[in-house]
Amino acid sequence: MVDAYRPKTLAEALKIRNETDCLPIAGGTDLMVQKARGTGLGPGFEKPLLFVGHLPELHRIEKKEGYIHIGPAVLLSELLHNPLISDTFKKAVALMASPPSRNLATLGGNICNASPAGDTLPFLYAADAELLLENHEFERRIAIEDFITGPKQTDLKPDELLTDIIIPDINFPVTYYKKVGQRRGMSLTKASFHGLADVLDGYVEDLRMAFGSVAPTVVRSRDIENSLIGESVNSLKNRYQEILELYEPLIQPIDDARSSAMYRKNVCFNILKDFLNYLEKNQGDII
């Protein structure tokens, strides 16, 4: 048996976090599976649990000064029904797991779980999401790519909690999302891609490309993106091979029970090519 805490306020939760080596748990959709031991047996948690999913402070979606703030305990299904959440992000969320899981799983859980296959991550990387981390005394704001340090690894300190997810409220005229799963529903991602772009008069004003599930963490290269900003969409499409070579060293998938490294890599390049074609075709439709 392990202890479990169910604080009433965030302050109380941070105090427990400061005093106890504990494991924060919100929806538990991944943790319960990771720690499952078998029929009729409780899960095998080694540390006391700190329940945070119910805390009202972590449970809001609001717009403030050009940013959308999402509480980490917000459920995936709530994201789908909130008008402040962009349609392209909703598209990624809607393909995650199953309705029952989405009614339990939280956005903060998906981030802190730090799986390379985490389905909300490519969007959050592409959208320049930042995270607010608090302990009982201080808070710090950190870019998501600095927070997630490896598969299942984050920069969360033992006394900290993730308390806010902050996304710039920018509307990208061109959005593209592709999830490659083993099947259409209830499937872990073999590879995914979230592309966001702003195109003016045929020239790329802003461009974000994030690849999921094909490296230890989400792949996004600001250097490559910056080198392409200012180009015409036509030339981007024609420079496909060159762009692909730029990403080549970054995309390092693994062979596992769900797919092969070779497939993942090839499919990433196909998606990239498809995105560049899409960019060319759809730039004119957007005002």
Partner: protein, 699 residues
């Protein structure tokens, strides 16, 4: 006027299942039960050198081979599987010991502390390696006509090889069993298809007569063949533990454990050599079927027999040579699975016919139609097809319903249409029915009737349809006809619930008994009628030479599958499957539709999504996160239709149904994918990964 038997009625088990009132094995309560956990081999092939046990808390027990009162072998066709390992293990997951204790937590902790020392022995992991080392369990062969002469005269010879993969049953309810001893009788309860198989295994393992054993089937959450022979093992485990500990014991598997250790569909390699004449007709076929039986023989000989007796599918090749072999590998034993060896060989033959046609630039359907069996033709084993074959009518209906001709002409790149023709031999293979001699009892008490059979309800609708046959015959409301629980102490052995035999064979006996009961209805208030199966006299079968009627009759089907391939990801979207079937006559159309839709989903899953590989004897996909079966989002639109072709010896003309759709969908789907990309396919599951490789190769 009496309503037709085919008109659907409400399923008799629906209400209690939907309301959560049905009692599955996990819902049963016992006084002071002990929980069991199985300690399994972690090595694919090894000698057990030493077993080190922790100190046992009070009321905890370790059960090993020394506690087995009778013979340490699980009785199947070939009883080579030890109930608990002796000094050697042959696969990862093989049961070695059982831990019993008053709580699951305690049992889990003890089993974690058990240490087993092994000496690894050389192991064989693949069919190819096993073939090289000639590790053959079983070998059969038969022939027809003069194949050697026909090959010598052939205008063209085509050789090809086909492969099918492992498949996991994924029944909704994992394996579970419980046992208790009362008044010197061992009671075993559990989720199973064949209570008398378990009883048979228990008589040998416990060394006690059948009248001291009662096997009682609890509500069973699906089976698909996965609960045919496997529960004999868990029945023995619980019974031995109950005798050794003098407590009721409960053994329920987790899903992961279930996947690791339970039987799977046999992976197969099928090699073909086809001889064609000047008119592009296949005149002679030489087939070599290799089935991976896994570590122990079990049911594999019979699975292989159905595989080879279904090997020519719906076609009449005048000259034929068939060889089938079961190979041993150090992997989890293969066993019964819906279709029982036929889906593998039918896939190979259907795809061979498809691929020969496209190689020759012919239309696959026209090519296939030139070869189909007709009434009066000999089957592959030389038994005369005595019933009317309405395959051309089934094909026409399927083409109309699916708009096949239009679709195949107007197809675009990355979309495809494929057609499969298929059959299923009804009832047991060879002389199985004559050996088993299924028996039923129909009992009238006042105005009610109880039917007593060992054929189980396992989600397929058997209780509804069997009751319906009796109620319809006697003109009684279905509520007046009930089924006795499947308790070997209360019902006769009507045979196992396998081989799509329940309606045709057992339902047939019930129909005969009900007819007789009707004629005597007013004689007395209470009486009983018993019937035993007799094989129709005009059928012939020689089990030594494999000549004659391997099956009394066949059910037939046609599938048209439509697919779209994503050009970016190579994801396969099966968009629609049209199925037209001759199952004689439908006993209940909705129940049958459930079978057909489920079978299509299962067949399409095996053909595309369901990748299961083993690496050095260890399953790579060993949970439902990695092993994918279709969800409702993956199941295509299904159009399903039946054409009546009543069978003289089936109840109301019914033949077999349950396994038929499992056989039909895979070749239709594979042919559609082949059509979409313009490439031949020789292997299932077809995955996006495979298609990407094939396309790159084509480029």
């Amino acid at each position: 006027m009496k309503m037709t038997i085919s008109k659907s009625i409400k399923r008799t088990d629906a209400r209690e299942k939907i309301r959560g009132e049905a009692q599955y094995i996990g819902d049963m309560a016992f006084d002071n039960p002990l929980y069991l956990k199985t300690v399994r081999s972690t090595r694919p092939h090894a000698k057990i050198l030493d077993i080190r046990l922790p100190d046992l808390p009070e009321n905890c027990f370790i059960i090993d081979k020394s506690h087995i009162p009778g013979k340490n072998r699980m009785r199947t066709v070939v009883s080579d599987h030890p109930i608990l390992a002796e000094d050697e293990v042959l696969y990862i997951g093989q049961p070695i010991l059982l831990v019993a204790g008053p709580s699951r937590e305690l049992v889990y902790q003890i089993s974690e502390k058990i240490r087993i020392d092994y000496e690894d022995l050389p192991a064989v992991f693949t069919l190819e390696e096993s073939e090289k080392q000639n590790c053959v369990f079983t070998e059969y062969s038969f022939s027809k006509g003069e194949p050697d002469t026909a090959f010598a005269q052939a205008a063209r010879i085509i050789e090809d090889e086909y492969r099918t993969g492992l498949q996991e049953h994924v029944y909704l309810e994992p394996q579970g069993m419980a046992a208790e001893v009362k008044d010197d009788t061992v009671f075993v309860y559990g989720s199973m298809q064949c209570p008398f198989y378990a009883e048979g295994a228990l008589t040998e393992a416990l060394g006690r007569p059948a009248d001291k054993i009662r096997v009682i089937q609890t509500t069973t959450g699906g089976a698909f063949g996965g609960k045919e022979e496997f529960p004999s093992l868990t029945a023995c485990h619980t019974a031995i533990a109950a005798l050794a500990t003098k407590h009721p014991v409960i053994l329920i598997y987790d899903r992961d454990e279930d996947i690791i250790c339970s039987t799977k569909r046999h992976p197969a390699i099928i090699r073909y050599k086809a001889g064609l004449d000047d008119n592009n007709r296949v005149t002679v076929l030489d087939m070599d079927l290799l089935y991976d039986a896994g570590a122990y023989t079990g049911l594999s000989p019979v699975v292989l027999q159905r595989g080879i007796f279904s090997a020519t599918n719906v076609y009449n090749f005048h000259h034929l040579k068939v060889r089938g072999r079961n190979f041993q590998t150090h992997t989890v034993p293969s066993g019964a699975f819906r279709g029982f060896g036929a889906p593998q060989s039918v896939f190979g033959t259907e795809m061979l016919m498809h691929n020969i046609a496209i190689t020759l630039g012919l239309d696959p359907l026209e090519f296939k139609m030139k070869h189909i069996l007709k009434q009066g033709d000999p089957s592959c084993t030389g038994g005369k097809i005595h019933d009317k074959v309405i395959l051309p009518e089934l094909v026409e209906r399927a083409l109309d319903l699916s708009d096949y001709r239009q679709k195949i002409q107007k197809k675009k790149k990355f979309t495809g249409v494929g057609i499969s023709l298929f059959l299923h031999g009804c009832g047991f293979t060879g002389n199985g029915e004559q050996t088993i001699k299924g028996k039923i009892i129909l009992r009238k008490s006042k105005d009610r009737v109880v039917l007593k059979v060992s054929s189980v309800e396992m989600g397929q609708g058997a209780d509804t349809t069997l009751r319906k046959i009796v109620a319809h015959t006697l003109d009684l409301p279905i509520e007046k006809v009930t089924c006795e629980i499947r308790d070997t102490g209360l019902v006769p052995d009507s045979g196992p619930t396998v081989a799509s035999r329940t309606i045709m064979i057992v339902g047939g006996l019930l129909k005969t008994a009900a007819d007789e009961m009707k004629s005597r209805w007013n004689d007395t208030e209470d009486f009983e009628i018993s019937k035993v199966y007799h094989h129709p006299g005009f059928l012939t079968w020689d089990n030594d030479t494999f000549q004659g009627n391997a099956y009394p009759t066949y059910s037939w089907g046609v599938n048209v599958a439509e697919v779209a391939i994503d050009p970016v990801t190579y994801d396969i979207h099966i968009e629609k499957v049209t199925g037209v079937y001759d199952v004689g006559r439908a006993i209940d159309e909705r129940a049958l539709r459930g079978q057909m839709e489920g079978g299509i989903a299962q067949g399409a899953g095996w053909a595309t999504l369901e990748v299961m590989k083993s690496k050095e004897g260890r399953l790579v996909q060993h949970n439902l996160t990695d092993y994918k079966v279709p969800t409702s989002m993956d199941v295509p639109e299904i159009i399903c239709d039946f054409m009546d072709n009543p069978y003289e010896f089936g109840p109301f003309g019914a033949k077999c149904a349950g396994e038929l759709p499992m056989t039909g969908a895979p070749p239709a789907v594979a042919a559609a994918i082949s059509n979409a990309l313009g490439i031949p396919l020789n292997e299932i599951p077809v995955t996006p990964e495979m298609l990407m490789e094939l396309e790159k190769h084509e480029d």
